[in-house]
Amino acid sequence: MSVLVYIESWEGKFKKNSFEAAQYAAKTAAAIGTEAIGVTLGDLQDDASVIGKYGVKKVISVKGSEFKSFDNYKVAEALKSVAEQQGSDTIIISGTWNGKAVAPVLAVAMDAGLITNAVEVPSSTSPLTVKRSVFSSKGLVEYSTETPKRIIAFIPNSIGVSEGESQAEVAEGSVSIGDVPAMEVTETDRVKGKILLPEAERVVSGGRGMKGPDNWGMLEELADVLDAATACSKPVSDMGWRPHTEHVGQTGIAINPNLYVAVGISGAIQHLAGVSSSKTIVVINNDAEAPFFKAADYGVVGDAFEVVPKLTEALRNFKENN
């Protein structure tokens, strides 16, 4: 009956999305009338009892070196094993890159119905019904699943998080992992100390209007005062001005931060497809006719090279006085 949630960690630290996943699970469990249980996999530095702040009262902590590098099959086997032990029939996963690799494999292992790309908590629990995004944010639709077991993967930043005071009770768990297809991670290359784009609440993004990679310093400064991640349009990553992982849009990643600041981006339909569900959109462009203004909440017509430093400065002043 219970709802199980995968609490992802990286090098022993919880991923930011995991807190939202915990909250999603707690809300889903409340709607069903049952409890939510967290699962952590691998050795942790963080204290798992903090998951209690997001409404999950119990966490099963499974230690072991087999989770040191990410393996979608091993994670799926472990989640399945804990779900069986805890009698969980609903599994919540955050739609991170790793989450997306686990969910379909777990659905097959558990004979579960899978709904991905959810943007809200379930609107009904029998059958389990969830609103999800389709056509790259150009549409929404309700999906239902009537299978006895079901998995929901939601888009990060869909429901946000609010912190309470409770602590979760943490119990050590053990799992049995059967034969899984062999894969070995040979090298990991991950940015450190930066806010990751998929989980960022605020994003500063640059387009071809930035003229060249050497001009990104001012966007990074703006991102810095905003505690934002950086992103870019497709041509910018195609030209190698920025890494591919920053490319947002229909063929890049889809994000929905609270704030998206677009600088020197025209607002092509394929770009909007990945960012239009951002809660607040600010557009800075020197062409008053740029299509992006139609999709924006706030617009500034002006030269990025003048407006961006001024905005950074104004934000710094604001922060000092507040």
Binding site: P104, A107, T147, A314
Partner: protein, 248 residues
């Protein structure tokens, strides 16, 4: 090397999306359909594999007759043959079961799918297919090199990438990086001519289960009108972000 490339048939990226007046269905009227962009990268990669080490490239779609022009385009780009499994692809698990049945019959060494279809953005079919076959699965795959039956792969992870090694057979959910945009093969005249005579085999669906059902569609709420702020009064933007949008 026998490579299977799974192709989904999706609205062109510039399409305006509309739903029927009862909101029960996607309105296909006036919509141009194309090969799913992620599958295009996989198709070109598959053709490179064939050119380098020999073998065949088969493209497959689970869909009704309307998807055949998309499969013909894949043949014109350079696939050797095509399979259409005659069924409505309304549920990812059902689609994965259909593809798994074909793979089991034909001994492919490698299945290249895309990381997601840009219509329903499910990102489910390749992972389910891999799990049904019990083959390794690499999602968000942006690099693939083969040496005999050893594969070196690169996958995207949050904020970076990882290199992996695995043995064939395997399934990938591919994307840009498998090849670059400039390398994408497009049909030429000879390709288009020869595509007409290449085999496109239509198969009946095998039994499978549907695990999800689709309810009402809606469009996202329209944005309210943009507020324009004078570039010389940027403090005003900061105030609005704080007091109105409440994002800082």
């Amino acid at each position: 090397m026998k490579v299977l490339v799974c192709i989904s048939h999706v609205p062109d990226t510039t399409s305006k999306i509309n739903f029927t007046s009862d909101n029960k269905e996607f309105d296909k009227n006036g919509v141009q359909f194309v090969i799913n962009p992620y599958d295009e990268f996989g198709l070109t990669r598959a053709i490179w594999i064939k050119e380098k080490q020999g073998g065949t490239v088969t493209v497959l779609n689970v869909g009704k007759a309307e998807t055949e022009p998309t499969l013909r385009k894949a043949l014109a780009i350079g696939a050797d043959d095509a399979i259409r499994i005659d069924a409505e692809p309304t549920d990812a698990f059902y689609v994965a079961q259909q593809i798994a049945a074909v793979v089991k019959e034909n001994n492919y060494d490698l299945v290249i799918a895309g990381r997601e279809s840009i219509d329903y953005n499910g990102g489910q079919v390749p992972g389910m297919l891999a799990a049904l076959l019990k083959w390794p699965f690499v999602n968000g795959c942006m690099g693939l090199e083969l040496d005999g039956n050893k594969a070196s792969l690169i996958r995207e992870i949050d904020g970076g990438k990882e290199k992996l090694s695995a043995s064939l057979p395997l399934v990938i959910g591919g994307q840009k990086g498998l090849v670059e945009e400039k390398d994408l093969r497009i049909p030429n005249m000879r390709g288009i001519m020869s595509a007409r005579t290449k085999p496109l085999n239509v198969k009946d669906a095998t039994n499978g289960d549907h695990r999800t059902s689709v309810g009402n569609y809606e469009k996202p709420a329209p944005k309210s009108a943009v507020k324009m702020i004078d570039a010389d009064n940027i403090e005003e933007l900061v105030n609005l972000l704080h007091s109105e949008a409440k994002v800082i």
